[in-house]
Symmetry: C2
Subunit: 130 residues, 2 copies
Amino acid sequence: MALKYSRQRELIKNFLMGRRDHPTAEIVYKNVRQQNPNISLGTVYRNLTLLADRGEIQRLRLGDGTDHFDADISPHYHFICRECGCVQDLRMDAIDGILDGARQHFDGQIAGHITYFYGTCAQCSQGINS
Amino acid sequence: MALKYSRQRELIKNFLMGRRDHPTAEIVYKNVRQQNPNISLGTVYRNLTLLADRGEIQRLRLGDGTDHFDADISPHYHFICRECGCVQDLRMDAIDGILDGARQHFDGQIAGHITYFYGTCAQCSQGINS
DNA sequence: AACAAAATTAGTAACGATTACTATTTTAGT
DNA sequence: ACTAAAATAGTAATCGTTACTAATTTTGTT
């Protein structure tokens, strides 16, 4: 299926590119609705999935039950706060070396790994959100 | 709340201890029902959550939309097959060293990390499941 | 500019995993 | 046996997400 332009998709991607907090579909919806009040939640989900499938954005599954999205597709890691649920970028050297270690004791083909960090973010540590 | 014995909880934990494939709540339910046909799905979920909260079992979130459970609480890693969805243990040296690297460029408190591997399991690689 | 085929949408229904609720039953200490 | 606390079965509700459908938009062609 050839991709056709859609104003909604553009709004969604632009919104995501202006954010660094890895919003959920619901948050994208709430915000994009301010520029296009008629947009539907299904359209947001469909376009986020489409953009992620095309590699234009990243879908993050951080174990909190809802997917987060990131327009920054450069390799980097993520941190999720167990207190407030916020997601933050975490720049560090890639640890792809662990794949070699993993392959040593494993029969199947290991294509990649998912790693993320958790704990208490700076704001919550300082009691700002309490 | 003091914990009281329950036959259902014992069945659930025993079933889990006899498996190495990290079953989902649904699979635990189907199997335990053969020994106790009256057990309800809610009881399975409640007890899996309770056991996980007490640290007697491990809850695995591997991004496939459903939680898996593991009675082996010793430190080890997991692999999930993108073809058949199976989950397998993966023994390798702990990579807690990455926490130090992560902490260097991060303000908050990093308590731990989640890492899992994905790819094609040995069976799927050999076309056994196809 | 009008035409048509394909893609996209809004709106709503459906879905799967999980949690919440409630009346009844079980456990365990007296 | 008596009782309070905990647990259960069964069901309803919730949440995030996907599927469906008729109407609209895009885009290439006349």
